[in-house]
């Protein structure tokens, strides 16, 4: 009974954002007077995301534990191939759906205020709704093809929104960079899909989970290719370079797409096909190593940046690294847990930075409204923004009792227990612990330099607090950033881990033991060396609190001069960090330049002489043949008639005399 109602509602979840996008987009395109109806556009846009959220809340509340698949219609069928628009509602997709539509609708509300007065207002909401539509396809799709459509759709929306102010060449280029980097990953994902289909003749996630043994021929390749796809979308080494540049887009976009939702789709995908990964420990180890390097490098870069959004962007890369580390050790539920808490506090941080930028734009004499060196002391002027930003900062830094502490500690613990089976994970755990310390450092630095200490912007300026339509989402997200962690309390407290035990790992999904089965060995190690948790939990708490306390005092004493001391501490490494490890330059030299030279000399020659030559030969041939036969067109009707008569006579002669 309940299931029937859910199935009836399901199409609305998917289609409402699409309808919203079409109404706003076409309305703005066809009726210029509609473009200035900001309240109406904002209301439609928000409603089309909030309604699916309400439906999803209802569905989650009445969910009975067994996955529901629902087929909208068959798309293509032939031979083995049967692709349909079918959607899967299970614990994982419901949770992801709640995050996407929940955080999404808050960010829509925020955008009503943030985008006020922009002449592309309607376009912004049309793209944002289209993004939600694509993202819902990605996470609710029951087979890899629907998932891939969503995967490409979010990539497209990301491109459109990064380049939203496309008249600025730098922003247009950033959009292009994101698009190209994502294409590389998408190619890998397509190859993985082809490999899966040629082996088991199905794209459905259920089949993939059930037929892992059948895929043994490509045991390494399929997970590896899927991981490469995830490095593109979820910004890991070597494809993470696009994410910091993606901050060229409007800040709500950075919060929604490049922090809370789209960039986590790689983690979602790996969790969804986790049985494939459990069968390939080598790939898991590779994920762990790459993830910890990404987390470390991004955290180091974040320390040396001064652009508030850039710091948050590198922090996102670093936190994504944490999630991938969890995937690498086989703690899939933990990765999803961190996806959730990260969505809350990082969305809050980005929206807070948007609020700050909004205020700084109106302060005269400030050249770059995103530079934290010209901020300081904003807490007095922007109390709501400052409080919520600090709450989220403490959450991401891992201060106990806030959400980030619980999820990050779970990741660290999983890595530690993974080490009993494969000692490399201990190394990863060490780096992760160090990175957690760096996280606490650079996040405290950015929050302190922005909101506390001396006012470094021109004297007498009064940066104003943002309107309620922007601060209300901040408060809701900050509340979630505090409370989100209580869904997954540490095991040693002997209270149920709501997310794992009651939701994600329950019966009835893919995999033998639960929806997402974590690495069995890792879990066994955890039980065996249970007492270690009494050591690990205080350790990570101590590191977070200690670093936070130290950083706060350090910058209180030194002000902006603290950066100088940090520079001395790191020595020559600091300029490497400042220049983002020269990774862009490295790609420029090793890939871009050779490619350009190759295009210029080799491909250009082929193009000019072979491809163009073929085309020229075709048209010259036609022209020359025409030149000969055009003489037949004498313009004398009787000539034509004579030819026709002769033809008739010939045919008749042939009929009669043969």
């Amino acid at each position: 009974m309940v299931t029937d109602i859910m199935v009836a509602f399901l199409p609305f979840i998917i289609l409402l954002p699409l309808i919203g996008s079409i109404i706003i987009g076409l309305g703005g395109m066809l009726f210029p007077s509609f473009r200035s109806q900001e309240k109406l556009i904002g209301a439609i846009g928000t409603a089309m995301v909030a309604l699916p959220f309400i439906i999803l809340v209802y569905m989650t509340a009445s969910f009975e534990g067994s996955a529901i698949t629902f087929k909208l219609w068959s798309w293509m069928r032939g031979g083995d191939l049967d692709i349909s628009f079918s959607y899967l509602l299970d614990q994982l997709s419901l949770l992801m759906g709640l995050i996407v539509t929940g955080v999404g609708s808050l960010i829509h509300v925020y955008s009503i205020g943030y985008m006020h007065g922009d002449k592309g207002y309607y376009k912004f909401f049309a793209y944002l709704n289209l993004f939600i539509f694509a993202m819902l396809n990605l996470i609710l799709g029951d087979n890899m093809v629907v998932m891939f459509l969503g995967w490409e759709g979010v990539g497209l929306c990301s491109y459109l929104l990064i380049g939203f102010w496309y008249t600025d060449m730098l922003k247009a280029k950033a959009a292009q960079k994101a698009f190209v980097a994502n294409r590389i990953g998408d190619f890998a994902l397509m190859v993985a899909m082809f490999l899966i289909f040629t082996t088991i003749h199905s794209f459905s996630f259920g089949e993939i989970g059930a037929q892992v043994e059948a895929l043994a021929d490509y045991r390494i390749w399929i997970p590896l290719l899927i991981f490469i796809a995830a490095t593109g979308k979820s910004a890991q080494i070597p494809l993470f370079v696009w994410l910091p540049d993606a901050m060229a887009g409007p800040t709500p976009v950075s919060a929604l797409i490049h922090a809370a939702t789209m960039v986590t789709s790689g983690i979602y995908l790996i969790a969804r096909v986790s049985p494939l990964f459990l069968a390939a420990p080598e790939v898991m180890l590779l994920i762990g190593i790459i993830a910890c390097l990404t987390a470390l490098i991004a955290a180091l870069i974040a320390i040396a940046q001064n652009d508030i959004k850039k710091i948050l962007a590198y922090s996102t890369v670093s936190q994504l690294g944490f999630m991938f580390m969890a995937l690498g050790v086989g703690a899939f539920t933990t990765a999803i847990f961190h996806v959730m808490t990260h969505a809350f506090f990082k969305a809050c941080l980005f929206l807070g930075s948007g609020s700050v930028i909004h205020a700084m734009e109106h302060v005269e004499g400030v050249k770059d409204p995103q530079d934290i060196r010209t901020m300081g002391g904003l807490a007095k002027h922007m109390p709501s923004t400052s409080k919520t930003f600090w709450i989220s900062t403490l959450a991401i830094a891992g201060i106990p009792l806030l959400s980030g502490f619980f999820s990050k500690d779970e990741i660290l613990a999983s890595l530690f227990f993974g080490g009993y089976t494969e000692p490399v994970y201990w190394g990863i755990w060490g780096i992760a612990l160090f990175t957690a310390m760096l996280t606490a450092f650079y996040m405290t630095r950015v929050a302190y330099l922005t909101f506390n200490g001396m006012e470094r912007f021109p004297k007498g300026a009064r940066p104003h607090e943002s309107p309620a339509v922007m601060t209300a989402p901040l408060w809701i997200l900050a509340t979630l950033a505090i409370l989100g962690g209580y869904l997954g309390l540490p095991a040693l407290l002997h209270v149920p881990h709501v997310l794992n035990d009651m939701w994600l790992a329950t019966e009835g999904g893919i995999g033998a033991e639960g929806l997402i089965s974590n690495s069995v060995q890792m879990v066994e190690n955890m039980h065996e060396h249970h007492s270690m948790e009494y050591l690990l939990l205080p350790l990570s708490a101590l590191i977070a609190v200690g670093t936070w306390f130290f950083t706060r005092r350090f910058y209180t004493n030194n002000g902006l001069g603290g950066d100088k001391k940090v520079q001395q501490l790191f020595g020559r490494l600091y300029s490497v960090m400042e220049n983002k490890f020269y990774i862009d330059e490295l790609y420029e030299k090793t890939i871009l330049t050779p490619f350009m030279l190759f295009s210029k000399y080799v491909v250009a020659w082929v193009e000019k002489n072979i491809v163009d030559g073929f085309v020229r030969a075709t048209y010259l041939g036609v022209a020359n043949v025409g030149e000969v036969f055009k003489r037949l067109q004498t313009g004398l009707v009787q000539n034509y008639l004579l030819l026709v008569s002769m033809g008739v006579i010939l045919v008749l002669a042939y009929i009669i005399f043969t």
């Binding site: 004498t634 009707v637 009787q638 008639l641 008569s645």
Partner: protein, 106 residues
């Protein structure tokens, strides 16, 4: 078909029909005046009509005679269209020499 098996009168009808057809064809192919060409086409059509009637009578089958009515109808309709084309042509060129209508020449 063996011509010698036909009755002499049938043969003469067919001979007249052939003559008319060939004369019409020569006219169409050699004359320059549009109206004359047009009349020659009518001649060819009537040659065909004559042979149709002849065979209809010979085989005692009305289908051929029926066909003649259709041909006549089409010929009448064609005369209307053809003549109006020539009138339109004359208004533009003050001439109905078909060799003067040669703008599609190479």
């Amino acid at each position: 078909m063996d011509l010698s098996s036909l009755q002499p009168s049938v043969l003469s009808y067919l001979a007249v029909s052939t003559l008319m057809f060939v004369l019409g064809m020569i006219g169409v192919l050699s004359r320059k005046n549009g109206i004359i060409i047009f009349m020659c086409i009518e001649l060819m059509l009537n040659a065909v009509n004559l042979s149709l009637v002849t065979f209809s009578k010979l085989h005692d089958n009305a289908t051929g005679s029926m066909m003649v009515f259709f041909v006549m109808c089409v010929a009448a309709a064609e005369a209307v269209v053809g003549l109006s084309i020539f009138i339109a042509l004359f208004r533009n060129k003050l001439d109905i020499d078909i060799n003067s209508v040669n703008i599609f020449k190479w």
